[in-house]
């Protein structure tokens, strides 16, 4: 989930968390954990309080429901460039199958690697 930088000048919980309007419950939680890691209470108590309050508000099902249902049909559209630049900051994560395949071993390469490894171990 992409997000924008923290906006401290607003009371909108989603803006404080730097999340888009349509962010899901999971996105809210994930972003909250990210921010807590970034601004732990011992380092920046005020910011932490703000983030925590925003998370509480954004997590209220009624607040979320109202946000999702109030669609601004006349509002401005985001420039395409902005949408893509936001994605640029977040490279895709590898799918599980692709990730596991990184550990594959070509049969031709296998003996060499194993041999060199075992040789070193023996020596």
């Amino acid at each position: 989930m992409s997000h924008t930088p923290l906006d401290q000048s607003t009371t909108d919980p989603m803006q404080i968390l730097g999340l888009p309007r349509e962010a899901s419950e999971q996105d809210v939680r994930r972003r909250y954990l990210e921010l807590v890691r970034e601004f732990p209470p011992e380092r920046d108590p005020a910011r932490f309080q703000q983030i925590h309050a925003a998370y509480k508000a954004a997590g209220d099902p009624l607040v979320v429901a109202r946000r999702l249902l109030n669609y601004d049909c006349d509002g401005p559209s985001r420039p395409w460039n902005e949408v893509i630049q936001e994605q640029k900051l977040h490279p895709p994560r590898l799918a599980v199958d692709v990730l596991l395949s990184l550990g594959n071993r070509a049969e031709t390469a296998q003996p060499d690697a194993i041999q060199s490894d075992s040789t070193q171990t023996n020596t």
């Binding site: 099902p61 429901a65 249902l69 949408v83 490279p91 692709v98 990730l99 390469a109």
Partner: protein
Amino acid sequence: MVSKSRKAKNRKVPKRRKPAITSAQDPEKLRRRIARVRPLAYSGELPCDLAVFDDAVLSQLDDNLAVEVRLVQAALQLVSDGFDDEASNQLTPIARRSPLSEWRLFVRGLSDWYADRVDEAQECWKRLDFNRRPSRMAHALTASHRSDLDVLVSAAPTSLLGQQADEKHCDRSILTSAQLVRRTRIDRPALAEAIRETSRREFVPPAIVDQVRIGPERLNWVIDFSKEYQSVEPQLVAALQAEACDRAMKQPFSDLNQIAMKAFPGPAHDPDNLLHQYLYQLQFRDGAEAAAALLKKYLTTSLPKNERISPQLRAAIECEIYLEQARDDIDGDDDGSLLSRFMRKPVDEKNVDKLYRQALAAYPTHTVAHREYVDWIREHVDDDRKNKAERAPFEAKLLPAMQAWSNAVPDEIDPRLWLVDHYLENEKLEEAQPHVQWLAGSRHADPRVRATPWKWELLEAMRLCRRKSWLKDASEKLDAADRLWPAWLRRDWLPYLRAALLLRQNRTEEFAVARAAIRASRSTDEQPFYEISDAAMMLGAAQMMRVPAADLKPLRQPVDDAVKKGGHVSLPDLVQLAYFFWDLYRTSMFYPAYRMHGGKFAMELCNRIKAAKSGELKGLLGTSALDEAFYWLASRRVFSDSYEFKFPNPLPKLVSPLTRAVALIETYLAGSARQRWRLRDHTREIKIVREAAAAQQDPYYRYWFGALADRADAIASAEQRRFSSAGFNPFGSFGFNDEVDDEDEDAQCMCPDCQRRRAYEQAGLPYNEDEDEGDYEDDDYFSDGDGADVNENDQFTTRVDVGGFLNNNNSQYDPIVETPKPPSPKLEIPSDPEIKRKRPKDPMGKKRKKRKR
């Protein structure tokens, strides 16, 4: 002899060299590879590692190990979905001695690596055993950042044994895997394509350029892009799809919107885009039927089965939808104008009641919904224009509504205060008792809550007056009420209550003495005696203490006379009377006759204020009673003409801004839901009241002003949201004005011929009506910003029904199935006479409402 022309024809035209595309830039190659790769076992691999991706091996493992393997599988999926913390938590049950502890280390490092904390990742991964799969995966991920990766891949395997510890195990297959990671996460050909395509200007006929946010060309590109890159860049694809949907929603071309809604998955709460389509349809005047069908489908089919959101959110969405529908039903077609006030249809009260009940059934702890429902019922119960029979059904609804509210939201004091009054009134002491105890023990800031014991004693005294045999205990209760009398409430009424008790006890002589004492105390040199306020206070006390009708008659007479001959009552007397009524209002202790004459006195006082000379009013301004009188008048809604707040003419200059602001807010809050939306235009007044709350000495006003500001703020904010978005509001529009459209139909005509003519006129080119339809080849309109001709086969797709787009004829085009390509690949704007005949009068094919609020 071969002619020159034949020579020229036979000459081989050298093929234009395509620019070299490296593998890093070749998106097709990457897609193929991504689709092909899968984890493969190698000889000697441990079964527990194999089991992570091979179910057959997993089924052969012993139970404990199999459980841990499943945890690893779940954790890998969680990391892939971006839930790093959840993934780490998932693996905590795996012990250090377990063969699967390698996976725990790997997952921890993987989360760090994804978060660009490479050093932390290395720290985890350096402890991995190279003969295990997690280590090989970690090596591939680490190597993907190497600048010399391509060189290393092309080199011989034996040369790969580097000097550094982390390089010595890198065999060719690891480096090839690292290349794949680099292509996917660093080179990102899809991102490059997205940047290239979206920076290109899309052709839009000039006549509608202001309305188009996404045209058929861009929409088709997003569809194709999504198909191609879904597996490689799911988040980028989702972001582009969301933006395309958003743009399609914000433009008045329903065929394009339909395509977007069908082609792209919706957000988690609306995966089928039913709600989006419903919101879209609401904006069209003739879209109500389709919108209702879509909403029904969403509420009955899609939402209950949606497992992607929590049950609480499902319930909240359902509740909010019903609530908005109830509000819209109450609002009706009232756009605030004088005309709509007279033309609006009567509210379907049964349907509103049903919608409120459905909302509360979906989410019983929704305080706002409870309050709105109760306010709506009270509005009808207190409606003086309704007779008893008309009020009866609403009165019957009030008790269950209050009970449901109190049960669902136990911390809410309003329903409890009302229930205490109701139960005591109906002699249901046992049912009232728990509420009284709760309120007495509550530390709520509302002074009325702390005054509950006082009210209990007073109401008990009144209840004991019902029977002669109980009368002896009534004076004791009245003494208790006297001791507990709240500091914020005047004690003026207490002597009247004592006198009324004497009358009820048939101690007429003592009653006469008590009356004389009251008169003497109220008539001083500083202030004259106020006949009517005295009479009303006596009548009210007598009625509350259940004085028999025969004894009540002489007490009622002066009040009735004053109602009939209102002009004879002095203005200060009326103000004192209003002050008394204000005390009754804030303690919710109305005597029966109040319903008969309360409204009449309110109107009389309002009229007298309007007619009063400013000198007369200035004399009253020093008395604190005047402000309270205004507050009571505001609660009676006399400052509203059922349209907006209107303070009687001389008052705005005479009273303080605070009094005016309080009167305004109270007027709207006490008024109907149809008027409350106006509070959004009075943020200044809300601010005045809020700021004044903190400065008040009186605890009642300190709390009440704050509560008024809070309620007004909540309504104003909700209305701001509803106003700024189409949401469920039937007045949402794209800003089209029907009147302008109708009057200026020729200028706004969107038929292909007119569009083409306007395009030519705007470009300053001569327009030829006989020109071949759609042949724009030589026109400059289709050039992009760089001057390059974009009217090429690869630039304009014919898959979207462009004619439908322009005519907005709601084409049933399915974007997944390709329509046959027309002979010419150019953008064609059809001018089929059939289309012309069918073209609706409204240029956009839809009548839209203009929101006027």
